[in-house]
């Protein structure tokens, strides 16, 4: 049985005695997403980065359709990491779908968490009744189609690297230059779980103060959704970033880090 730390490619930086700060990547990439943000917290935090199973350099063989059939499975992994590293009073920073994964984890074991930071959260992507998530079911099928189209050339060359097969070392180098590579079947599976989940009811169960970072002109998680999250969390603060798009951790790491810093204090 591989350890949790290997399974999720956990990387620990910064002050071993500092307050734990866990960064969780969203749909579409891996812990590289945080590269401009986490170094700004190493002076006074124990910074923990990881990849969700099936992404980045996690152990892809640990991927299990049933365990990861809902976000609860990913939340269980977060709690495994917290247990393994004995984390308490953690600041959990989740991007995109990992905001909800953090919410689920905190609801289960509040004693592990001190603060949540949700970057571009959405509890429900698909419109339903009066609720506006921004997408229809057909849009999500279009995304799955996009994923399929873009993985046509994938399996032959990338599979051995991703699966940790060491007999073609030249492919390893290729991978270091190819961020966010993931198994197409896993990517589609994660896309379905992410975009078809409904975590609206879970917001009220979040037991810790939460910062909601809302981007400008974010189609994936529009302002109306960020506002919904803010209103339904028991205790939250909403900050609108000047950064546009869905990935301020990449496009505006300074602004993102400054907003987190202002929330967690010096």
């Amino acid at each position: 049985m591989t350890s949790v730390l290997t399974r999720n490619n956990v990387q620990v930086h910064g002050d071993p005695g500092g307050r734990p700060m866990v960064f969780a990547h969203g749909f579409g990439c891996d812990q590289n997403m945080w590269r401009g943000v986490w170094p700004q917290f190493t002076a006074d935090h124990r910074v923990i980065l990881f990849d969700h199973v099936g992404h980045g350099r996690s152990d892809h063989r640990a991927f299990d359709q049933e365990r990861y059939a809902s976000l609860e499975g990913y939340a269980a992994d977060v709690l495994d990491i917290c247990a393994e590293l004995d984390l308490h009073d953690t600041v959990f920073v989740g991007h995109s779908v990992s905001s909800m994964i953090g919410a689920l984890a905190a609801a289960q074991q509040p004693e592990r968490f001190g603060r949540l930071v949700m970057v571009g959260p959405s509890p429900r992507y698909v419109d339903e009744g009066d609720y506006v998530g921004g997408f229809s079911r057909a849009d999500i099928d279009g995304l799955l189609d996009s994923l399929e189209s873009n993985y046509l050339g994938w399996s032959g060359t990338m599979a051995p690297v991703i699966m940790g097969n060491g007999d073609r070392p030249e492919l390893g180098e290729e991978l270091t230059e190819s961020f966010c590579a993931t198994d197409p079947e896993i990517a589609k599976h994660f896309a379905r779980v992410t975009f078809l989940s409904d975590n609206r009811a879970d917001l009220a169960r979040v037991p810790v103060p939460t910062l909601v970072l809302q981007c400008s002109a974010d189609v994936i998680a529009p302002e109306v959704v960020g506002d919904y999250v803010h209103r339904h969390l028991p205790e939250s603060e909403l900050v609108l970033l000047a950064a546009t798009g869905h990935c301020p951790n990449l496009s505006a790491p300074e602004e993102t880090a400054a907003a987190i810093r202002a929330y967690v204090g010096p």
């Binding site: 990439c29 640990a62 991927f63 299990d64 999500i140 599979a159 940790g164 966010c180 798009g245 990935c247």
Partner: protein, 380 residues
């Protein structure tokens, strides 16, 4: 240089840009379009006045492609400075869809900071429909091979009070071609059964059909009353004559239900693991010879016989049970014995399932896996 060549070299940079054989657009970092060429206007049906400063590149995409853009394309471009050959669907001004391949580079200023994004767009209508055909064909073949495999492996297992027999068969995951693992168990005579496990080289429909042929051949040869060694010799001949299944490995065993005599002939296959009451599980490295039709002159096939103690458990399996990239073969074999030891008292079905769970895990594998467990308890 001829006058004709002069004409060509006089293509102005402006013309090269405007009428380049691909759409071209420059955007700000947030995607706002600041420059386009004529080809892009033609491809999308938008006049540049409708685009410049008014639309972002991502506004030209279908919603699905747009999610892909925001979650994959934009992050990759940020991190790598370049993204190549990404398939997206654009929506033309008239609402129709344009399947396209796009490349982007991040243009940096003198200070190294990103300033703008340059993107080229190629009409990929024909390519995309061809690729979809390929994907459909691949899925279809996979489905056929899977059906074939299911059909070929069907059938009832022998039942007898002296025998508890169960199979755990896990085909390779969806998206990966089916392999050629097979198992079989059938009556040889009134009080004797055969249990067979084999692995055909190759994947897909071909492997599945070869597996089916060999499985039938084994049954046919067994019906003539051949003992395990001579049966494999005849199977060698079959493989050679029909050119089917060279290098197949197969373990053929027969068990007398009244005496517990187990005969084994293995053509290069992994050895059966045996757990007898009161002693640790071990492999029966006996009755071994080379894979089918592996040598020009295979000679007589080895065969061995041993007598099981009442209550013994036997496990036959294929390499899918033990082969993992992160574990040496020997470690896999050791794990089989350890897991068998730990579950020796369980019913065959639980034994096969739990040993498989322990070794392969509940997660998906890229290879077929087959484990046949039996326990022999003689009539008292």
């Amino acid at each position: 240089m001829s006058a004709r060549d002069d004409d060509l070299t006089e293509d102005s940079p402006e013309e090269l840009f405007e009428d380049a054989p691909c759409g071209y657009l420059t955007t700000r970092l947030d995607g706002t379009i600041v420059k386009v060429n004529r080809t892009l206007e033609t491809l999308t049906g938008y006049a540049r006045a409708d685009l410049l400063g008014r639309r972002r590149f991502q506004d030209l995409l279908t919603v699905g492609a747009r999610i892909y853009h925001d979650t994959h394309y934009a992050p990759l471009l940020q991190m790598q400075g370049t993204v190549r050959e990404i398939a997206v669907d654009l929506v033309r001004a008239d609402g129709t869809t344009l399947p396209a391949l796009v490349n982007s580079v991040l243009r940096r200023g003198a200070d190294g900071e990103p300033r703008a994004i340059r993107t080229t767009i190629f009409d990929a209508t024909d390519r995309r429909s061809y690729e979809r055909e390929l994907v459909r064909a691949r899925d279809r073949e996979h489905e056929i091979a899977r059906e074939l495999q299911r059909g070929l492996l069907g059938g009832e297992l022998p039942e007898d009070p002296a025998l508890d027999l169960a199979v755990e068969y896990r085909p390779a995951v969806a998206g990966v071609e089916v392999g050629g693992d097979w198992y079989d168990a059938f009556w040889l005579s009134e009080r004797e059964i055969a249990v067979v496990v084999g692995d055909v080289v190759g994947r897909g429909i071909q492997a599945a059909t070869k597996m089916g042929q060999l499985r039938s051949a084994v049954r046919a040869l067994a019906a003539t009353g051949l003992e395990p060694g001579p049966l494999l010799e005849s199977l060698d001949g079959y493989v050679r004559r029909h050119g089917v299944g060279q290098m197949t490995t197969v373990a053929y065993t027969s068990l007398e239900l009244d005496t517990g005599v187990l005969r084994i002939a293995s053509a290069g296959h992994l050895p059966p693991a045996i757990a007898e009451p009161g002693s640790g599980a071990s492999f029966a490295w006996v009755g071994r010879s080379t894979p089918l039709d592996a040598t020009l002159n295979p000679g007589p096939r080895a065969q061995a016989a041993l007598t099981l103690a009442p209550g013994s458990a036997v496990l036959l399996f294929t390499d899918g049970l033990i082969e993992r990239p992160d574990r040496p073969l020997q470690a896999g074999l050791d794990a089989v014995l350890a897991e068998l030891d730990a579950r020796r008292g369980e019913p065959a079905a639980a034994l096969a399932r739990e040993v498989s769970d322990a070794l392969v895990g509940a997660h998906e594998s890229g290879d077929d896996m087959c484990a046949v467990a039996l326990r022999w308890t003689p009539p008292s």
